[in-house]
């Protein structure tokens, strides 16, 4: 089965645009114009020039010799952690701010969980001289203080989301409400492959630079474009969508998605959406969603704020549904161990989100000569406090 989006914005039975009428004109404008804008030659040149000179792309595809030796496979790390601002998130915000300018928008709003997307948004707003407001759960503001200050330093206003669980989903609710209140002059930069169509596909397209580069770089290093396995962590799933994108329809490439199992899939403190979720609608798309029997969205848990989301991008729900993706659930403690292990073996301190992808190596089967690419979506500087609290290093 071909993995692709249909004309109504669905991947199989997931996706769509379930939005209040107040947002319909905005979503319609995006849906009708985004492809024309982003495929335009002038836009592409601006986008790739900024990715090169400002973000620092292409990011290296690094052969991790000691990690490979330990796991008995050929392991490459796609170094998204070396992007400007410290994670892959900026690929998307560069694309969307150029799009917002084309649409004549004056203000940018965004939601953020760990703060990486907020920082990436605040960064491009500073770059383009646009007003920026970032909504962030009050709980996340507390546990990701340095990122709050980074956003402020970059000139953004950070507004706490104080409803519900006070984390990423509530920040997203608040950003959507503020977009309803300011539909004309404001563009909402969603940070993941979630939300109403066309966001999931649009964000995936901006992030697809990751797998486009992997193909080229692997060709140079291994004489083949296709690895045996690509592994990425999934909260909403933007880095995974980017790393998988050009491999969706290459059946020989296994796509492994690492979800956050928190304290254990059945502990009640987890964010493992494919293991626990049921079909539902949140933030404008139909997808797998962690919810109660009554259809109330449950508050997820993960040690990593960036994976702390009760849903999953519709494309990932589809990959899961049709069996194209292999989903593993990685517990907090295992992710922390994998993060410490990479620090010691390779001198790279990963974001705890990315550490989930690293630990998936222990949870899947592979052959000794397999070429495995792990998308190292972000660096661990922002997580130093969590590593310190963890203490076992």
């Amino acid at each position: 089965m071909k993995i692709e989006i249909d004309k109504n914005g669905f991947y199989g039975k997931f996706g769509g645009a379930y939005i209040p009428e107040m947002l319909y004109p905005n979503i319609e404008e995006l849906r009708d114009s985004y492809l024309g804008i982003i495929e335009d030659e002038d836009f592409q040149k601006k986008f790739y020039d900024l990715l090169k000179d400002y973000v620092g792309r292409p990011t290296p595809l690094y052969f991790a010799a000691r990690l490979s030796e330990k796991y008995k496979a050929k392991i490459y790390l796609k170094r998204e952690d070396l992007c400007h601002t410290g994670a892959h998130k900026v690929n998307n915000t560069i694309g969307q701010i150029l799009l917002a300018q084309k649409l004549g928008k004056k203000r940018i709003i965004a939601e953020t969980g760990a703060g990486q997307h907020g920082v990436a948004t605040a960064t491009v707003c500073a770059l383009m001289g646009m007003e920026c407001t970032v909504y962030m759960g009050e709980v996340d503001m507390e546990r990701q203080k340095p990122n709050v200050e980074r956003m402020k330093l970059l000139g953004a206003t950070v507004v706490p989301a104080t409803s519900g669980s006070k984390t990423l989903k509530d920040a997203t609710n608040e950003a959507m409400r503020q977009w309803i209140n300011n539909p004309v002059d404001t563009h909402y930069i969603i940070g993941s492959v979630v939300g109403p169509h066309p966001y999931p596909e649009m964000v995936a397209k901006f992030q697809s630079v990751i797998s486009a580069e992997i193909k080229k770089q692997l060709q140079e290093k291994e004489g083949r474009e296709n690895p045996d396995i690509v592994i990425a962590c999934v909260g909403g799933g933007s880095n995974a969508a980017g790393a998988f994108y050009h491999y969706y329809n290459t059946p020989g490439v296994r796509l492994v998605a690492a979800e956050a199992a928190g304290l254990g899939v059945s502990s009640g403190k987890s964010a493992a959406t494919t293991a626990l979720g049921k079909l539902g609608i949140l933030h404008g798309s139909r997808t797998l969603l962690m919810q109660t029997e009554d259809g109330q969205v449950v508050e997820p848990h993960s040690i990593s704020a960036g994976l702390d989301y009760p849903g999953i991008g519709p494309v990932h729900a589809h990959l899961f549904d049709v069996g194209r993706g292999e989903f593993v659930a990685v517990e907090d403690k295992d992710a922390m161990k994998a993060g410490v292990e990479l620090s010691k073996l390779e001198g790279i301190i990963p974001a705890i989100e990315s550490a989930h992808a690293l630990h998936a190596l222990n949870q899947i089967e592979y052959k000794p000569d397999d070429v495995i690419v792990i998308n190292l979506s972000g660096r661990g500087d922002k997580d130093l406090e969590t590593y310190i609290k963890w203490g076992e290093y």
Binding site: Y18, Y24, N173, I180, V297
Partner: protein, 271 residues
């Protein structure tokens, strides 16, 4: 041909100053749902909108967010709501509309939900996150099979062309969101809003129109009613429920609704 339901009867008999009152089921106390409905009817309103609480109400402002949260904390669920509404038609004769978000309905089962609505005597639905196309593709058939009318929202941003399309697919009333806003965000009616009401009024649409969001007192109700068949009050009414004591609840609801209609109510002391 559809059989007439209470919404049709209402608008056939009344084309001006129709007052629809929204509140959240299970609020302020779990068992208040039907007593509040009875008090709304006794107070003289024309339509009752019963909110089905949801954890993530993206189109709602702080007042209704809070009432949703309290109702859920009280233990409200769709199952509980239908149990409460089972006997409502013994005491409530007004049109009753359920308003809420899609996810709990999908979890409950769309067909089973519609069947329950029909069983207890619900007349229609307002689902802010159900846009027209999705309604036509996935929900229209089952809603109509169980005699449920669907109300669409329009906003100042909605194009004339789309308003006409929405009108064509409506069989209830059109919910005119008064401004660019979530519920309860702004108060009063500006000239710009009046121009929007007039623009829609001149489109010659078939369905009755009620104006909602930001309608909170006699003045805004009267202004809105000039440009439409009537108006909807939600957040301001929730505030009355919030401020009432269990003993005064009934009385306060009556005073508020009469005040909306005749202007004899001091909102500043209550809201």
């Amino acid at each position: 041909m559809k059989t007439e339901n209470r919404i049709d009867t209402l608008f056939r008999n009344k084309q001006k100053n129709v007052l629809s009152i929204y509140f959240t089921a299970g609020y302020p106390k779990l068992e208040d749902t039907v007593p509040v409905m009875e008090a709304i009817e006794a107070g003289g309103a024309d339509i009752i909108e019963v909110g089905m609480p949801f954890s993530d109400p993206v189109a709602d402002g702080p007042t209704i967010q809070e009432s949703n949260k309290i109702a859920l904390d009280n233990g409200m669920s769709l199952k509980k709501l239908f149990a409460q509404l089972a006997e409502m038609r013994k005491t409530v004769s007004l049109p009753v509309i359920l308003m809420g978000y899609l996810n709990p309905i999908i979890q409950f089962g769309v067909e089973k939900f519609c069947q329950k609505c029909q069983e207890v005597g619900v007349d229609g639905l307002i689902l802010p996150d159900l846009p027209m196309q999705q309604f036509l593709d996935e929900f229209k058939e089952v809603f109509s099979r169980f005699g449920l009318r669907n109300t669409f929202l329009i906003s100042p941003q909605t194009s004339d062309e789309r308003i006409k399309a929405i009108d064509e697919h409506s069989d209830s009333f059109i919910y005119m969101v008064s401004s660019h806003s979530i519920t309860g965000a702004k108060s009063g009616i500006t000239q710009e809003q009046e121009r929007y009401f007039e623009r829609v009024g001149q489109l010659g649409i078939q369905n009755p129109r009620l104006i909602g969001f930001g309608i909170s007192d006699h003045e805004s109700f009267t202004k809105a009613s000039k440009h439409a068949h009537g108006a909807i009050i939600g957040s301001a009414f929730i505030k009355v429920l919030n401020n009432a004591s269990p003993e005064s609840l009934n009385n306060d609801i009556g005073i508020f609704i009469k005040g909306i209609k005749n202007g004899e109510y001091d909102y500043t002391s209550k809201a």
